[in-house]
């Protein structure tokens, strides 16, 4: 009995380990390939690089234009997430604690129920009228709008759990509502803000479709556009291509490893809310 239990236990680990191979292996292959010559990638796909080809990275970064794309994505992500957090927190504060309104809450809920693809064509035509096509501001605007619903859903339920006393004390002490918000509510909401902030970083950094439609000037393109563009040029030259993929993935992987619990909790809450 005990013995069969132990066998079962080992079998469990074998299964768990097998699946983990399928999730790690492709990334490892990309990472190793990004340091190899093309012929090495074909001849010995699973070996360590004989000499580490850092040129692949410089090739991707400069002639593949990934450097420019990287800084564009970085800038767009920072600005979008800052605005998502600010506007989202302001609205959530009212909906959670000042003026709860089911109608408004449902209104924002539409953003989760209706697929983003529905607004692709109208967005393009509206932003074109406003001269915001081929312009980072237009893209940032769309990222803010697409993330607002989920941000508000998660923050409202977070802010509802905050104790009322501190806020009341601040108001009695004569702190205005603005000061109460910025110096009491926002700091208390840090865990909630971190969760939605990381979700927003991931969704903006990883987004492709809106960027593709709204940005065509090579100088303004984002990282996902950049690596897609490399496919045409470097499809037969795996080294720089995989280096470009690694440059896209590494920042997100680092963020994920540092904030793992937040990322998992946020994605789960976000999915369940949606």
């Amino acid at each position: 009995m005990l013995r069969s239990k132990r066998t079962l236990q080992s079998l469990k680990y074998v299964l768990l380990a097998l699946y983990s191979v399928t999730t790690i292996f492709p990334f490892l292959w990309v990472f190793l390939s990004s340091f190899k010559t093309n012929s090495e990638i074909y001849s010995s796909p699973f070996a360590l690089p004989k000499t580490w080809q850092f040129e692949n990275y410089s090739k991707a970064w400069t002639s593949g234009n990934i450097g420019t794309n990287f800084f564009n994505s970085f800038y767009i992500t920072i600005v979008s997430v800052a605005l998502i957090l600010l506007f989202g927190a302001m609205a959530s504060y009212i909906l959670a604690r000042v003026y709860p309104s089911l109608a408004l809450y449902t209104f924002f809920g539409l953003g989760i129920m209706i697929p983003g693809q529905t607004i692709l064509i109208p967005t393009f035509s509206i932003l074109k009228e406003l001269h915001l096509v081929n312009n980072h501001t237009g893209l940032i605007l769309m990222y803010v709008v697409s993330s607002l619903s989920l941000t508000i859903f998660v923050l409202v339920s977070f802010m509802k759990t905050l104790p009322k006393e501190l806020e009341e004390a601040a108001i009695v002490d004569g702190a205005g509502r603005y000061r109460t918000f910025f110096s009491i509510i926002l700091p208390l909401s840090t865990p909630g803000l971190a969760t939605v902030g990381i979700l927003a970083v991931l969704s903006v950094w990883n987004e492709y479709l809106f960027a593709y439609v709204l940005i065509s000037d090579p100088v303004l393109k984002t990282l996902t556009q950049g690596i897609y563009g490399m496919k045409g040029e470097y499809m037969t030259d795996y080294g720089p291509m995989t280096a470009g993929l690694a440059i896209t993935m590494i920042p997100v992987v680092i963020l994920y490893i540092i904030f793992q619990n937040k990322v998992v909790a946020g994605m789960t809450a976000g999915a369940v809310k949606g």
Partner: protein, 291 residues
Amino acid sequence: MKQNRGLFSVLFLAPASLLFLLFFIVPVFFSVYYSMTEWDAVSKPEFSAFSNFASLWRDADYWTSMRNTLWLVVMTLTIKIPVALILAYLLLRVKRGFKFFRTVYFLPVVIAPMAIGLMFSLIYSESGMLNQTLDLFGLSFLQQNWLSDPDIVLFAVSAPQVWQNIGLFFVIFLAALQGIPNETFESAEIDGASSTRTFFSIAVPMLWDVMQVVIILGVTGALKMFDHAWAITQGGPGVSSAFASVYMFMKGFGSYEFGYASAISVTIAGYALAFTIVFKKFFSGKDSLEY
């Protein structure tokens, strides 16, 4: 004070509400309007009532893309959900290595779908990693051109999406399983239930609420599926690996039939809304948001 509160609320709600109204809700209505026009993206849209929808009805390519989307839903039910659920159940009471496995299983979820798609297109290429791996295990008779056979390409293009989704569903199931009190499992074990039995008679029924969420995510995810397919095949050959959103994009920004593409996007939104509402009503009786 009361007045102050009203003004304050309006000011604080304004940025989010206005942006959302102008750049989400209004575009949704525009989409519905455009779907009833002939429009080549350059000249003015011309009203054509429901003719786009009538053409859609007769458009074999549209139905191919819908059938492909349905395949992805079928894969959600037959592959993603079972695999994710089994992984979560296996990992649930593992002590050593718990964090490692969770980290690794969820890893694909955080990576850009575009990057994952491109990664798979390298893997699938003729001398790519997949064919090399098959060779390594002496399975070279299985080697093939993964992206040119219309029967295989659909699965090749779906695989990365299935793979990413398993990670997401896995953590959702894991969180839900962790919410079931340990005693429930323990008392079942004392009663002599095998772990397979415990799985089917305790874990699965108690997960019904999350299961609904996951099914809805699987369906809406299939309707939104774009980046992977675009990265790997751009929907080709022909439309054999195009999903609903990919076909919409091909018509919209590929051949500039903005009216027709809008009609496709209206049907996509319609299917997503209808499925979510009907499914929730049917299974949980809840039709409003929890607030």
